[in-house]
């Protein structure tokens, strides 16, 4: 090994203590290269002493607290940004949905009123609803509605208010599954022909009928009755009929 070869690797020899037999042999024979190796070994020891001396140095105790506050602030800001993005997304989605709905309605061909009245309504969905319809004066047979338990949905159909004594609902789907009374007008009992109505299927306790002035047998007070309530555009009950559905039994 030449001095040049030795000097090219002396730092690693001094740093890692590599057992390079040829290198060590050269260092023993060459005084200058031997001194270089010793120098590198001393340097390694000095650097180790420095590293050891610094080992206990750490950042100040207050830094952790400051960073934690920053972390919480970052997290809160991220939440706010997320909520904001969600609101924007919902608004855009709602706008798109409304646009699509408007287009669909606009493109739907108008049908004769008779056909509309005769068309089957969708099957009622069952949901909780709190909206109490108007109270009714006492009636001899059956009643109006109260804070109900179950409900229906937008029939989407424009229909005139059924008159007392008229046949029960012409809704084919319901008729096939339910036995119902006639629609009994509630309140003023007037519905505009062009008014958009909703049919609500509700289940109410018989005891609730008392508050509408309808007589109820004391021994059946705990039972529930089912009814379809026809709601006007303003949400008030316009008519009611009582139903018996196999599904509910």
């Amino acid at each position: 090994m030449t001095c040049a070869e030795f000097q090219s690797k002396v730092a690693e020899l001094g740093r890692e203590g590599i057992a390079d037999a040829a290198g060590l042999h050269h260092a023993e024979l060459c005084g200058g290269c031997g001194a270089l190796l010793n120098e590198q070994r001393r340097l390694t020891a000095a650097l180790a002493a420095l590293a050891g001396d610094d080992r206990e140095f750490e950042s100040s105790a207050g830094m952790e607290h400051r960073l934690l506050l920053a972390f919480r602030e970052n997290r809160a800001a991220a939440r706010r940004a997320h909520a904001s993005a969600k609101r924007i997304w919902l608004a855009v989605s709602a706008a798109v949905a409304a646009g699509v709905l408007i287009l669909m309605i606009a493109s739907e061909p108008s049908r004769p009123q008779a056909e509309i009245a005769g068309s089957p309504a969708p099957r009622p969905a069952i949901v909780e609803t709190p909206a109490p319809p108007r109270a009714q004066p006492p009636r001899p047979q059956i009643a109006s509605v109260e804070p109900p338990k179950t409900v229906v949905e937008d029939s989407g159909v424009r229909r005139p208010l059924p008159r007392r004594g008229a046949p029960a609902s012409s809704d084919a789907t319901l008729a096939s599954q339910t036995l119902s009374t006639e629609f009994l007008p509630l309140g003023a009992g007037y519905i505009d022909r062009n008014e958009r109505t909703q049919l609500l299927r509700v289940s109410i306790p018989r005891s609730a009928l008392l508050s509408m002035g309808i007589p109820v047998r004391a021994d059946r007070m705990d039972e529930r009755v089912q009814a379809d309530v026809l709601l006007g555009e303003d949400g008030t009950a316009r008519a009611i009929r009582f139903v018996t559905t196999a599904q509910y039994r």
């Binding site: 340097l43 000095a46 650097l47 590293a51 750490e58 960073l67 920053a70």
Partner: protein, 191 residues
């Protein structure tokens, strides 16, 4: 027996908003980052500032961590290194003396002399390290003082392992040259 979570898992949880994970990762890695900044800058204030900024950046940019490119520790050193470079362009270091002045002094005369000698050596190494060009200094600090492997240092410095090795050797040679002069002076006094 408690299972110690890896840095990667702590980072992932931290990014999901887990404050405990952030605290654990900070406590585990702040010392190394602080010492690296201190050894690179020679300033306690700068080291403090860089450590804080490093973890602030980790909060905001932690999702950029790529395990394929190195460890979380290396990622932190990489952030700290960039911050140190910016500071080195602006600020001169001046606080090794104050660090040395804070050290406790031993009791007996022998201990005092030994401690003084040791302290002098360490301070001489500090000064010598700080006087190195940054490109050699960072390789030396990472490999010699922080104990990183060539591979990890290469990830931090964003260069090939061979480059790290050659920078380290060159840094050590320069350091040895700086050391040689005081040694010769001491020898002259002894004679």
């Amino acid at each position: 027996m408690t299972l110690e979570l890896t840095d990667e898992l702590l980072l992932r949880r931290m990014l999901e908003g887990d404050e405990t994970a952030f605290t654990a990762l900070y406590r585990r890695r702040q010392g190394g980052v602080y010492r690296f900044a201190l050894q690179m800058s020679g300033s306690v204030e700068i080291a403090e500032e860089i450590t804080q900024d490093t973890f602030m950046l980790l909060m905001r940019q932690g999702s950029r961590f790529d395990p394929a490119k190195g460890s979380v520790s290396g990622f932190l050193f990489g952030i700290a290194r960039n911050l140190v470079r910016r500071h080195l362009e602006k600020v001169r270091n001046e606080s090794w003396a104050e660090l040395a002045a804070d050290d406790p002094v031993a009791d007996s005369r022998e201990n005092v002399l030994d401690e003084m000698t040791r302290r002098e050596t360490i301070n001489a190494v500090r000064r010598a390290v700080l006087s190195l060009p940054p490109v050699y200094r960072e390789a030396l600090v990472l490999c010699e003082l922080q104990g990183l492997s060539y591979l990890d240092a290469a990830a931090v410095l964003d260069c090939p392992v061979g480059t790290v090795r050659s920078r380290l050797n060159r840094g050590r040679t320069l350091l040895a040259d700086k050391f040689r002069a005081p040694a010769m002076k001491a020898g002259a006094v002894a004679i």
